[in-house]
């Protein structure tokens, strides 16, 4: 249990650093550390497959692309967008309301009825695969079609410009 509290503390600590870091590249690096602590959480929950997929997909691919994009952007002080004061006030107000909503809904759920897993080994690859491809086959396939359509859309947007020149 003490491991959990330590890792949970690290997760929150690094995620606060993500939003408080001045330099965007530093904040991405803190985000990587945050995701790394999530991986440890999954391992503590005995969800090995989820842990390693989180490791590969989020830390190894998505955040590399984030970092890649940020490195290409000019990060000088002069080109930094300065938001008007009213927008900042509106942001604080909106964020505060969201925090209240989340807190109250969490209070409604309550920690009194924790979810009990029938099978503690559910997170291992074999069990997860069986559940995914038997019980949840349709949602699984539909979500993959969703990803495919997003990819096709991105390709379409990227190639749209060229057509008038060719014609």
């Amino acid at each position: 249990m003490s491991t959990f509290y330590f890792i949970a503390f690290l997760s929150i600590f690094f995620s606060i650093l993500v939003i408080s870091a001045k330099n965007p590249v530093h904040s991405i690096l803190y985000l990587i550390l945050t995701f790394f602590t999530f991986t440890i959480h999954y391992i503590l929950l005995n969800a090995q497959f989820l842990a390693i997929v989180n490791f590969i997909v989020y830390m190894g691919a998505i955040l590399v692309l984030f970092l890649y994009t940020l490195m290409l952007i000019n990060l000088n002080k002069e080109s930094e967008p300065v938001k008007p004061f009213m927008v900042k006030i509106a942001g604080v107000f909106g964020g505060g309301i969201l925090a209240v909503a989340v807190a109250s809904s969490l209070k409604l759920i309550g920690a009194s009825n924790p979810v009990l897993l029938q099978n503690p080994d559910l997170g291992l690859v074999k069990n997860l695969g069986k559940v995914l491809f038997n019980e949840f086959l349709l949602p699984f396939e539909i979500s993959s079609v969703l990803l495919l359509s997003a990819m096709v859309g991105a390709v379409l947007l990227a190639t749209k410009e060229k057509e008038p020149k060719a014609a």
Binding site: F49, I52, I56, M59, G60, V64
Partner: protein, 347 residues
Amino acid sequence: METADLIFRIVLIVVIFAISLVVAMYSTYAERKVAAFFQDRVGPNRAGPWGILQPLADGGKMFLKEEIIPTNATGFLFIVGPSLAILTACIGSAVIPWGSAIQIGGRTFDLQVTDINVGVLYIFGVVSLGVYGIMIGGWASNNKYSLLGAIRAASQNISYEISMGLSIIALLMLTGTLSLKEIAEQQHGFHWNVWRQPLGFILFLVCAFAETNRSPFDLPECETELVGGYHTEYSSMKLGFYLFAEYINMFISSAVMATLYWGGYNYPFMDDMAVWFSPNTAAIVGVVILFGKIFFSIFFFMWVRWTIPRFRYDQLMDLGWKILIPLAIANIVLTGVGSTLLTHFGY
């Protein structure tokens, strides 16, 4: 875990760490000798007999050189970069089975540090993490050439990870497990996976070249365009770490290839060996054979480096996205159809 088991694990970790460092050290020597052989030169021959002490001399020079951190570099990240590169290179060896179980004093010990049941994915995760060392170092140098090298490394790694993953999927469809130990055990004797997955192996090999930034895919450090690439600003042992990490990566990826496709520690007539001599002798011969496979594979890396010229960057991307990924998907389909038909007709 029992004390004897724990002690054995610790000894094994230290030995594997030492072996990977020594192999990486002598790979630099071997690289120069191989290059000399291919170009009809002599190569390093001054330090010790046949220049065999050359890596020590190189290492001493690396340590003693002046350390320079550029004024405009981001100090902390500038140091994190090479450290991360060498860390990710070293942790990959944890899941590789180096041999079949050996018996000491009536106990059985596995020659593997840990057998997690997602071993293949662990290797994959470590590989995908490896690019951070280069990216952070390249960015922190605050140099345009370093940054370009880092960006090239990132996009190259991401592109080739996809086809690497797809080529592994075809293999996993046949093995039915993600544990490297079980994969190695299934290839007992001469039932090596490469006979069943020749195309998958070739795809994996090409991707391994790209992931370790070896020539002909070493565009992140293309000196004709980018001075030194991502390590332009580095000197002393930090540069040494980057170069060293590349050789350790080469060693680990050779070990992974040998385990996944070339039977790992398995060899023909291994059961006869165990009967003729003793099971331990057979296991030790297996370890030697695994290292033989690894060394040949490292030699192959060097062979290709001194034979094939570097790609252009657009050719690299074309190869990754337009040739390797469709081939890998076709390989998955072929494997699926093939194994279904074989089961259907009762093989």
